[in-house]
Structures are given as C-alpha cells and as structure tokens.
C-alpha cells in the first residue's frame, strides 16, 4: 500500500513538473518511468494485463519473459509509439499519449527487428537519424566517427546497409540509437544475432553508458544477459508481472543456491521422480532431465548415487533466472 501511494505521489509530482532545463541531468534514483495498472488489449487478446512498475534514473531495468509475455508491447507503450487501453504511465514526467514526440526526443530505441534504411550507406543511416532529432550537421559528423568506432564499422562507412551481415546491422542499429545521446536507451532483445565476443563488448558498452547516467531498459529472454545487465527486473508471463526484484534477489526468493540436473533417459526420468522428490527442497521434471533444488547439490548428488540411482549425466550449477521463471510459471523460457 505504501509503495502504491509513493508511486502515485511520484507520478503526480513528475506530471506537473517535468525535468527542469536548469537541472538537465536530473537526480540519480528519481523515477523516470512510472506505470500503474497499465493494460493493452487487442480485441479479445490482452497483451499487457494491468501491470505496475517504475524505473529510476540511472537504473538498468529488465523485462524478462518468453515470447508473447508482453515485453515488447510494454516497451512500445514506453516508447510512445503505441497507445494503452487503460492505466496510467508517465515517462520523464510526461504522458506518452499527450506528449509523445517530446518523450521520444530523449529515447534511444533499438527495436527487435532492424529497421535501417537499406538504400542508404552506413554513414548516411547515422546522419539522417541524427537529423530526425534536429541535431546540427557538425555535431552529427563528429558523432558518426565515434559511433563507427564504437560499432567497429569504420571500414563499412560507405557501404550500403543491404550489403551488411546480420551482426553488422545489429551493431549499426545500436549505434544509431546512441546518436542523440538519449536519457533512456531502450533495447528490445539487443544481442540477438551478435557473436559471443560482440555480445560481451556490447554489455561492456552498456555498463559504461549506465555509468554516465543513461537509464537502460532491456527486454531479453537470455538469462545471462538479464543477470549481467539488469539492476532490477520484472519477470513477465502472459501480460502479467510474476515477480520483481534484482536478479540475485529473485534467485534468493524463488530458488535455492544450487541446482542438480540429472538425466536418466527420456522414458526413465518420470520413474525416478517420486524418489528424487523426497531427497531435496523441490524438483522439476522436464522432458529431457530432472532438476533438483538444494543449497548443497554436491551432497545431494552423492545421496542420489548412494541410493542406487545412476544418472547417465549429472551437472551441479548455481541457480539462474531460468529456475526462477520455471518456479513462477511452471514453464521454461524457451518452450
């Protein structure tokens, strides 16, 4: 209740007093995005089902969930490109349905699918995008040099986008979103199509942007990405928020320290399930393996073997957000 009252109070305050030009950077920690009862329906289908959340300035905030969970719909509402059916939301103190362009002036958007202008060169894509924000030609020219280096596309500056590989297009899309030095950088599945090295370097770049005060909004279905990048995240499923906390907090609340994965063969996992259930806090029987939850899985594995059960393979690992999701929804993220 206190939390709800605080959010409402913050919403009213921010609506009436948008970011002052005298303090353009704002205050780290103040709420930049506040949503209450946010709902989006497409006919009979409810994509976002009355969710509440807030995102603070300088925070890296994640939306985690499977395809169709409502993450991208929520992102589009925040990006002021999709109207809500009901509920309230303010971004930078403004209602996106009333002051969409003013909000979008301070957002950098990396969509799930690249929408670069394929008839233009790499350099021209960055240039025209900068012009959409009213940036001066001189500023954009200097910025292009930085962004081409950032995206490792210096050699491709004069190449038409249609000739780039998928990974290069992704890097260019991310670079393009940074041309206006946005207050909020929104990344919808940002590392899809990137190789592991480029992925890690992008994570590093995002950390640095965060250090400079940029607020990051990320949707992902990659567990490691969510754990690496997000200070706080909400787990979404079927348009609803299942849980909200830091990655570590979610794991602590909804899972054990460790997980033991054992495989007995597809037709035998069910046979052992009942016996295994009595040996640990919780188990999940998946089609190809059984997950056993305990704070000491090495001992648990020893006990399993000593009881005469010989798994064909076994793995002890620390709990991840995948386990949290499984616990909350009964399904895996990749189903």
């Amino acid at each position: 209740m206190m939390s709800t009252l605080w959010r409402m109070s913050a919403m009213e305050k921010s609506e009436s007093s948008p970011a002052s030009p005298a303090s353009p950077a704002g205050t780290i920690g103040e709420p930049l995005i506040i949503a209450k009862g946010l709902r989006k329906e497409y006919g009979e289908f409810t994509a976002v089902d009355g969710i509440d959340f807030h995102v603070n300035r300088g925070e890296s905030f994640g939306f985690l969930g499977p395809n169709g969970a409502g993450k991208s719909t929520t992102m589009r509402i925040i990006a002021a490109t999709l109207t809500r059916t009901s509920g309230e939301i303010t971004i930078l103190g403004k209602d996106p349905e009333k002051r969409g362009p003013e909000i979008r002036a301070h957002l950098g958007v990396v969509p799930q699918q690249d929408n670069l202008d394929s008839s233009l060169t790499v350099e021209d894509n960055l240039y025209v995008y900068g012009r959409y924000f009213g940036l001066t030609k001189k500023f954009i020219r200097a910025k292009i040099e930085e962004l081409l280096t950032f995206a490792q596309l210096e050699e491709k500056r004069g190449v038409k986008v249609e000739a780039l590989s998928g990974g290069m297009k992704r890097r260019l899309t991310i670079a393009r979103a940074l041309v206006s030095e946005p207050e909020i950088l929104m990344l919808d599945e940002p590392t899809t199509g990137l190789d592991p090295q480029a992925r890690h370097i992008l994570w590093d770049r995002l950390f640095r942007l965060k250090e400079q005060g940029v607020t990051l909004l990320i949707t992902t279905h990659y567990m490691d990405e969510a754990e690496q990048l997000c200070d706080r995240l909400i787990v979404m499923d079927k348009g609803r928020i299942m849980a909200e906390d830091s990655p570590a907090g979610l794991i602590k609340t909804y899972s054990t320290k460790e997980v033991l994965e054992v495989r007995f063969g597809a037709d035998r996992n069910d046979l052992y399930a009942e016996k295994l259930r009595s040996m640990c806090d919780r188990i999940e029987v998946l089609p190809d393996r059984v997950l056993m939850y305990s704070d000491d899985c090495e001992t648990l594995l020893h006990n399993v073997v000593s009881q005469g059960m010989q798994p064909t393979t076994s793995l002890v690992r620390r709990s991840s957000l995948e386990d949290v999701f499984l616990r909350l929804t009964g399904r895996t993220l990749v189903e």
């Binding site: 969409g100 003013e102 008839s119 233009l120 240039y127 995008y129 030095e181 946005p182 370097i201």
Partner: protein, 279 residues
Amino acid sequence: MSDTKIARRGSLQLINVPKVLHRGALYVAEARIRVMLKWKWSIAGEAILNPMFYLLSIGIGIGKVVNSHQASGIDGVSYLAFLAPALLASACIIGAVNEVMHPTLEGFKWNKNFYAMYATPISGKQIADGVLLSGLVRALFGTLMYYGALLIFGGVSGWHSLWLIPATIFAAASFAALMLGLCAAIENSDLLLNIVGRLLIMPLFLFSGTFYSLQSMPKFLQFIGWLSPLWHATEVGRWISYGHHISTQGLIAHFLYMGIMYLVGVHYARHFYLKRLSK
C-alpha cells in the same frame, strides 16, 4: 565493438525539442531527398529523356499528321501547343505520385524505416508531410526539365507560360496527397500497385483530354476527366499557355476541386500514417 570513449552531453542538453517539433517534416523530406540523390543520374536521365521522347514522337510526329488534316489547329493552336500543358501536367503528376507511393510502401512494408523515424521526435503527421514534400521537390525538378524541353521544342513560349510551373505543382500536390493517403490506407502492396497502375493512372492519362479535347469524347466517358486532377490541370495549363477559353467560374471550380482534393488527401494521409505507425 570497440571501447572508444564517447564524450556525452545527454539529449536533455543536446536536443532543441520545440525546434524539432516544428521542423520534423523538413527532416523527413531531407532524408528522402538524400535517398533520391543516390539515384540522381537515373532521375536526371528520366527527366530529360522522357519529354524528349514524348515531344518527338507525339508532339512532332503525330502533331504533323494532325496539323496536316486540321489547318486551323486544335483549339486554335498547333497540336504541339495543345499537347504541351497536358504532357507537362501528366509528367509532373505521375512523378509526384511515384515519389510518394514507393517510399510509403518501403517505409511501412519493405524496410520499415518509417517505424525508425517514428521512434524519434518525428510525428506520424510529419512523416506523411515530409514524404509529400519530398515528392513535390522531385516533381518540381521534373517539371522544370520538362518545361525547358517544351521551350526548346516550341510547345510553350512567353514569360506568362512560367505560371504553368506552380499550377502544375499544385495539381501534382493534390493528386499526390490523395495517393499518399490511399497508399497508407491499403496495406496489401500488390493490391495497391494494381489499383494505382491499372485503375487510376492509365485511365486518368487516357481520359483526361491529354491527346484530344475531352468534349470530343462520349458523354459517359467525360466524367472520368471531370474526376481527374490531370484534366483540371490540363485545362488550367492550356488557359495559361495559349488562352484556352475557361469561364471565371470554371477556373475557380478547377482550383477548388484540386484544393479540396489536396486537403482531403493530406487529412487522410496523416490519419492513416498515424494509424499504421501506432498499431
């Protein structure tokens, strides 16, 4: 990606939001013109060769036959003079329509770059306006080239004929605005191309009094001309070029018709652009 240091000031300091909110359509047009410049040689080639071919084959070739059978000319002037305003208007209108139709299909469907524009301070309305504006810039270029060719071939003459240029652009704006709305409204690109190519452009070109007076056609076909902005532009063009008789009320009706078509087109273009972008 490399870890080159990026100096950062932040969008709150960098971006002059009121300026962008007023100039968004200009930024869209600027981007479109940048795309057109990639094709500058083919655009220039088309703008030069198209009138040359038409004027040589129809204006002079067919004109010679027509003039030899009708000593008093058509509408009191040579066939080339009769034809010139119509060719100018049709080239300008078709050029503008192409330049709004293809970017709309491309922006919404083929590479979806309108969605990238819409993620910036640019509004849906400004994207529609910018595409129309860039289409008219292209049409102006084509019109100037065509007008130059008409001067060389003797299809138009005198300073007063310069008024053909704004009148033609006005007609192009009215039809291009309508087509902009239609392109945004019809999401099936194949259907759209068939409707425009087969049911709109070709009939309008043939039944708008371009090659012969509309009055010489059967009554039941004349209504196509009355609906066509090309006929209205042609009538006004002939009035400007060689004093073709039009009553004052008729002149007002021509401009009113094109003006209303422009306003309706812009209204629906903005509406359907925004509708598709925020779907």
